[in-house]
Each structure stands twice: as C-alpha cells, then as structure tokens.
C-alpha cells in the first residue's frame, strides 16, 4: 500500500467553550479524490485551517508522505506541498494570468527587474498541464469565472503539490464549467496528486470522489467508498438522522391566479416571457446561470424596468418601477445573495425583520419597539429561528437562520407573491430540508411562491410546476408529475425546441 500523501492523526483543537475538533483523523492517498463532508459548524473549516497552518492543533500530528510536519503558516504549508483552492477567488484582475500565477514570487533578474521570459515559460507549462485555453499574457479580468478558477488552480501548482484541497470550488460555476473543473481534478489525480474535495453538493461528490469522509460536531464519523454507498447513507452519517429527499409529486389544489406575466421582456436579458402563478402553488424556475431567471425576479420586484409586456396581480394590470411599488402590490423577493442583498448584517435580527415596514410601526415620531417585538416574536416562533436574542446581529447567525430572517421579513408584510431566489445557497444539508419544508408550508397556506434555483434536486423537490429557461426564453413548462431530470436538462440546454405555452 502506498503511503498517504497527507495524513492527520487525532487532531484536537479547542476554542474557549468549544471543542471544535475532537480527535479527527483523516488521510488522502496519492491519486485519490477524497471528499470531506459535514454540515456548517461540523469542523471542516477548522480542520482545513489546521492543515493550512492558520491554526496550530492542540493535540495530534500531521504527516506528509509519512514524515511528521508542522505547518507554521499558510506559506509554510504551501512550501510543503499542501495547497488550497478556495471558494472565493483572490486574483488581481488587472494583471496578466502569468503575473497572477507567480504573484509574490515573480522570477527576477538583476536590479529587481521581472524575468518575463521565464515567467511566461513557466506559466505556460502549468497552463498546459491544466489544458487551459488561454495564454499566460491574458488579462485575468477578461476571463470567465471558471477560467479564473483555473488560474487559481494554476497558482497552486507552482510548487510540487502533494495534496490539493478544493474548498467548495463549484459555488460560482455553471454546470458546463463544472465539467471542465472535474476534468482538471481528474487530471491531477492521474498525475498522482492527493485531492481533498470539500462540498455541500451531494451530486458532485458522487461524480468526482473515490472516498467520502464525514465530520459531524467536530468528530470523525466514518469513511465510505463512494462506489459502495448512496446519498441516503452519506446524509444519515452527516446529520445523524435520515432525510426526506423524495419529490413532491401529489398534485395540489391551487387557488386564483395571483401573478400573470404576459410577453414580459427586458432588453437582451429575457424576451417574451409569459407565465402564471396561482395561490397555493410553488413554481420553480430552472436554467443555467445567465438564462434570465434572476432577471425576471428582479423585474417583477421593480429592480429592473421591463422593456415590454405586462404584469397582472390578481387580474389587475400593475406598473412596477421600484421595489416600493412591488411591495405595495404584495410582491416580495428573497434575493439570491442574502448577505449582499438580503440582510443588513450589522443590524439586529429584529430590526432586519421589520426593515421594509418600520415606517408604519411608529408612535408619534418614534419607532415603536413593542410593535416591532410583536412581529419578531410571531415569525421567530413560526419559522423556528434559532437565535439567542432579538438583539443578535444578523451577521452572526448561521446561513439557514439568516435565510429564515429574510423570509420572515417578507412574510410579515403579508405578501401575495413570494419570490425566493436560490433559497438554500450556502446552507447546510440539515437546514436545507427545513427551508424546503417551509416553502411547501407557505404554499399550502395559500401563498403564491416562485422558487428560482440552480440545483435540480431542489427545484424538483419543492415545485408544483417547473419552468425551464434557456437564453432568456421559456423553453418548456412541466408539472411536477411529468417532469424528469432528463427532460429538464434537455430543456435548459436548449435541446428541446418545442415551446409549450
């Protein structure tokens, strides 16, 4: 048996009040993709920080090719052949690909001049190894996100990498770009590099990994050979209970038409989009990034101005020019990026929840705290938001609870139509199903709900009807009963030419 490229032995790390890692052991063999799973707070990031030299373990030992190693700093870890590909890109857009790859360690000639010839030669060699379709001279700012990620990977390969750790690498990639990334990962594996792959997305893990290890509550919960296991088993290991992942297939009884969009267009973003949403149903919008799904939501919410078409709410034609108009007409939007667009992170949970209507919660010139409390208490209980107190800053909550604050914020406005864009992005598996159930509940309470998602299982799980989009147009509309993964994939790739009105 070959020696592991990287081995962690009984790692313990405690913080005041928390035992973040409780004797975790983990290894990755050369030429293996080892997936590391765990819910948020399970200890994945702490483990990676120990590995990357950001934290020092309290107990335990790290071995590189069976030699004990101490990671003093991220730079030290890199020089020992342990490199990280992070979720967030950290590239300088205005510099060339080659400069980015060797940022901080540019080859030099006398008097500190950059040795461009060497720089480009070495960079080109790395790019070749990754099969990249761009040159070292390309300006990074002109690359797509997937290609930028490739630069990030190239940067990691300037040292002789023994283990490469991918931390949620697909968070901002389209499906096509993911395929390219997986090719690269497979390529590295074939070159004998040990790969640690961290992700929330079950489908990816089953596509790419050879082995799966699970962390829960800071402890190692077991390893599975990917080929011999299934999603249910992994999920059970992760959350310690089983999870209902089945589709919602029973047809629901729907009410009146809440929203009717007729021939809606917005410049080049989407054209001639027509659909209806009834009360009591969830309509899922599925498509690739750039298919125009989010843009439709933004238009309905008044963040963009429609260039043609009409919007009717409960049969009455309305003009929506600003979010204020949309709110007045009972439309709410839970945006795609809750930290950037949904929440005021420095504000308390309560204040976030009452933000859109605080103007109405006054007594004399002042905001009435007791009216705010009433609203917060109602939705805190209803949505089972876990927060130590209403004063807690929204930024300190977990992703799932943050999302509930945003949803609660809009429910308290008594909307007719609730649009939820990427309801569970960056939320761990356990909370995901909670949010899904919540969305189903809301529909059964009579809300009209639009869900936009890039994750097919999610769309299939929550929607009564699925609208497939491609290049700014609606390609097909499915009911929950007739939709299949294959037909959906075809529709969003533009393969299916038939358009159902």
């Amino acid at each position: 048996m070959t020696a592991p490229a990287l081995r962690l032995q009984d790692i313990v790390k405690t913080f005041p009040g928390v035992r973040a890692l409780d004797g975790v052991s983990f290894e990755v063999l050369p030429g293996e993709v080892h997936a590391l799973l765990g819910e948020n707070g399970a200890g994945k990031s702490t483990l990676m920080k120990v590995l990357g030299g950001i934290y020092q373990p309290d107990e335990g030992q790290i071995f590189i090719e069976e030699g004990p190693a101490r990671m003093a700093s991220p730079l030290d870890a890199k020089s020992k052949g342990v490199v990280f590909i992070h979720q967030e890109l950290s590239l300088a857009d205005e510099l060339s690909v080659a400069e980015n790859i060797y940022l901080g360690e540019l080859p030099k000639r006398s008097f500190g001049r950059v040795d461009w010839a060497t720089l480009y030669r070495k960079s080109a060699a790395i790019l070749d190894r990754l099969n990249c379709g761009f040159t070292p001279q390309t300006r990074v700012g002109s690359l797509s996100i997937a290609n930028k990620q490739m630069v990030e990977i190239a940067r990691a390969l300037t040292v002789e990498a023994k283990a490469v750790i991918f931390d949620e690498p697909t968070a901002s990639l389209t499906d096509a770009e993911k395929v390219v990334l997986f090719d690269i990962i497979n390529g590295l594996r074939d070159q004998g590099v040990g790969i640690v792959y961290i992700s929330h997305r079950m489908d990816e893990i089953f596509t790419i990994s050879d082995r799966i290890s699970v962390l829960r509550d800071g402890a190692y919960r077991g390893s599975l050979i990917t080929a011999d296991t299934n999603e249910d088993e992994v999920t059970r290991l992760m959350i310690g209970r089983s999870l209902d992942l089945s589709h919602n297939l029973d047809p629901v009884e729907v009410g009146e038409v809440v929203l009717e969009a007729q021939g809606l267009s917005c410049g080049s973003l989407f054209q001639d989009v027509s659909f209806r949403v009834h009360s009591g149903e969830v309509v899922g919008f599925y498509g690739l990034v750039g298919a125009g799904r989010t843009e439709i939501a933004e238009t309905l919410f008044g963040l963009r101005t429609a260039s043609a078409g009409s919007i009717r709410i409960l049969g009455e034609e309305v003009r929506i020019n600003s979010p204020m108009d949309a709110i007045t007409h009972g439309i709410s939007l839970v945006p795609e990026d809750r930290k950037e667009q949904g929440l005021v992170l420095g504000m308390s949970c309560r204040d976030n929840m009452t933000l859109p209507q605080v103007g109405a919660l006054t007594r004399g010139p002042f905001v009435d705290g007791s009216k705010e409390m009433a609203i917060f208490d109602t939705y805190h209980d209803k949505l089972e938001i876990k927060t130590p107190s209403w004063k807690q800053q929204a930024g300190n909550l977990s992703g799932g609870n943050q999302q509930k604050i945003v949803i609660g914020k809009w429910l308290s406005m008594q909307p007719k139509l609730l649009i939820v864009d990427e309801p569970t992005r960056g939320i761990d598996v356990g909370s995901k199903s909670e949010i899904h159930n919540l969305i189903r509940d809301l529909a059964s309470q009579g809300y009209a709900v639009i869900v936009i998602s890039s994750e097919m299982p999610e769309v299939l799980r929550v929607s009564d009807r699925v609208i497939a989009m491609f290049h700014g147009r609606i390609m097909r509309e499915f009911t929950a009963q007739e939709v299949t993964e294959d037909s959906l994939v075809q529709a969003i790739s533009g393969i299916s030419p038939e358009k159902v009105a």
Binding site: E340, Q341, M347, P356, K409
Partner: protein, 333 residues
C-alpha cells in the same frame, strides 16, 4: 468579563475613558507645567470648553449621520464660511433697512436656508449622478470656497450688530447660547438616529445599501435629506459663531471638515458606514477640544497640538482595529 463583552464595552466606552484620562493627565501635568495658577478642571474653564467645541461639534453631529450612511461631506467648512457671509452681509442690505432689529431672524433664516440649499445641491448630485460623495463634496468644497472669495475678494465681511451679540452671549446659569444649541442639537439628532425610522434607515443604507434598496427604502432621497441636514447644521454652527464675532474672513472654516471628521472618527464611527453613534461623536468633539485646551494649558503651541492630535487619532484607530479583529484568523493584509 468575557472578551466579547469587553470588546463591546471598549468600543462604546473608549472615548469616555479617553476623556477621563485627558482630564486626569492635564490636571496633574498642569500642576507642574502650567504658567497660570488656575486648576485645569475649573468650572469656568469647562464651560468655555463646551462653548468652544460648539462650532465643530454641531457640524460633527451631521457628519455622523452622513458617515453612518457611508458618505462623507468635505464641503462643510466652505458652507460654514458662505453662510456666515450671507448672514452678516444680509443685515446691511437696503431692502431690510426698515426692519430694525427684526433683520436678525431674517438674516439667520437666510443663512440657514443657504446651508440647506448647498446641502441639497450636494445630495442631488450624489443621488442623480451616482458619483462618490467624496468626489462630489471635494468639488463642492472648492466651488463653495470659490463663491466665498468671489463675494468680497480677500477682504473680511463684517457687520457687528450689538443686539445680536447680546442675544448670543445670554447665559443660563453660566451656560452660554452656543453650548445650549450644541447640546439640544446633540439630543435631537441622537433621538433621530436611535428612535426614528429615518435613523434606522440611515444605518441600513450604510451597512448594506443593496439590502436597503431591496427592503423598499428609497436610498437616493434618504441621502439627500442627510445632506440637507448637514448643510443646515453647518449653517447653524456658522450662525452661532458669527453672531458673536461679527466678522468673517474668506479663509474661515478651512480645514473644519477635517476637524469634524477627526472628531467623528475618534468617536468610533466607521468610514465605511453602517455603524457609529451620535453620543460617541459628542465625546469625540469634547476629547479633541480637551486636548487642544489641555496642551495649551501646559504650554504647548498650536503646531504641537496638531501633531499630538494626529498621532492620537492614528493610535486610537490602531487600537480599535486590534480590539475588533476577530482572533488571529483575520487576514494579514
């Protein structure tokens, strides 16, 4: 006390601790170094201190809102000077000749409206063009100052109205009008920021503008109001100050914007917006004035005072950064 509580205590209470430190230091150092035999913490001296901090302080209250909003206003010093000219000069205009002393409220009103109008201009440009407030108000700072010089060239504009001087020097148990106005403004703006919808929105807009837009807040008009408010406060500050002095030089108010920003930042308001407090700004204003007076008390000259304030500002922000850094995992940039 656990670290979290300690941090938040330091964040809120630091400026007051600093003030106490200053008082203690200057009282003790004054015993040895001061040329006068009066104690530093003399009641009259403290009242004078409040009065002297009023002009900067009143503007700093407005700057706090602007900075919580994530904006900045560099034109306040020029606004301050221009409003003074409007007030002093309008009292001599022939059309108001028949008003007698009733010209005073008219002149005040004109000055205040000038300030609000200048703020409105700033606000509208920031809203409608989307250009950064720093650039917009840098431009208007130069522009407004240009207007000041166009008015009377290099010459001072003077008009001493004794009724006015008497009015402004009225005191209530020793507390003079500028101090009273400063304190009233501080209380009102504190209420505005902590108790009203406008205040709530100001924090939301500064912390996360996109989320504020998504919550239906009309961010543009909101910011315009704040610029009008700071314009009004700059004018009010000017009115209070020049009612007593009766003469304005075209260079008056230069660098006021920087003193104001120093006081606000010293009080813990973040340049990036979203957090800050009016009460702490009040503390910041007092702390700076204490430092100026205290250093004067122990015999330092103006140049030395500026050097020390500059160093302290940097030291305070460095300390703040150390306290707010969340453990060692923070990026080493």
């Amino acid at each position: 006390m656990n670290t979290e509580k300690f941090r938040s205590f330091m964040a809120r209470g630091a400026i007051w601790g600093f003030i106490v430190l200053e008082l203690v230091f200057f009282s003790i150092a004054g015993e040895f170094l001061s040329l006068s035999d009066k104690a530093f913490m003399d009641w009259d001296n403290m009242l004078l201190l409040f009065k002297q901090s009023a002009p900067i302080g009143i503007i700093a209250l407005g700057m706090t809102i602007i900075m919580i909003n994530g904006n900045i206003d560099l034109s306040v010093g020029a606004t301050f000077a221009l409003c003074a000219i409007v007030m002093l000069d309008s009292m001599t205009w022939p059309i108001f000749a028949g008003l007698g002393d009733w010209v005073i409220p008219v002149a005040w009103l004109l000055a205040l409206m000038t300030g609000m109008f200048l703020g409105l201009i700033n606000g509208l440009i920031v809203w409608k063009t989307g250009v950064d407030a720093f650039i917009v108000t840098l431009g208007s700072m130069l522009g407004f100052r240009g207007l000041v010089f166009m008015y009377n060239g290099e010459n001072p504009t003077s008009h001493l109205n004794w009724t006015l001087v008497d009015m402004i020097e009225v005191d209530l148990l020793g507390v003079e009008v500028p101090t009273i106005i400063f304190v009233i403004c501080a209380v009102l703006i504190w209420l505005l920021m902590t108790r009203t919808v406008h205040g709530r929105n100001a924090y939301a807009v500064g912390d996360n503008r996109e989320a504020a837009v998504n919550a239906g807040i009309r961010v543009g008009p909101h910011m315009v109001w704040n610029f009008v408010l700071i314009g009004f406060l700059a004018a009010l500050s000017s009115v209070v100050f020049y009612s007593a002095s009766g003469s304005v030089n075209p260079n008056d108010g230069t660098l006021y914007e920087l003193w104001v920003i120093t006081a606000v930042v010293l009080g813990g308001t973040k340049l990036t917006g979203g957090s800050g407090s009016v009460i702490s700004t009040f503390g910041g204003v007092i702390a700076i004035q204490l430092l100026r007076k205290g250093l004067g008390h122990i015999g330092a000259d103006t140049a030395m005072v500026n050097l020390v304030i500059g160093l302290i500002l940097i030291a305070v922000l460095f300390l703040d950064q150390q306290l707010n850094r969340k453990g060692k995992e923070a990026l080493k940039v």
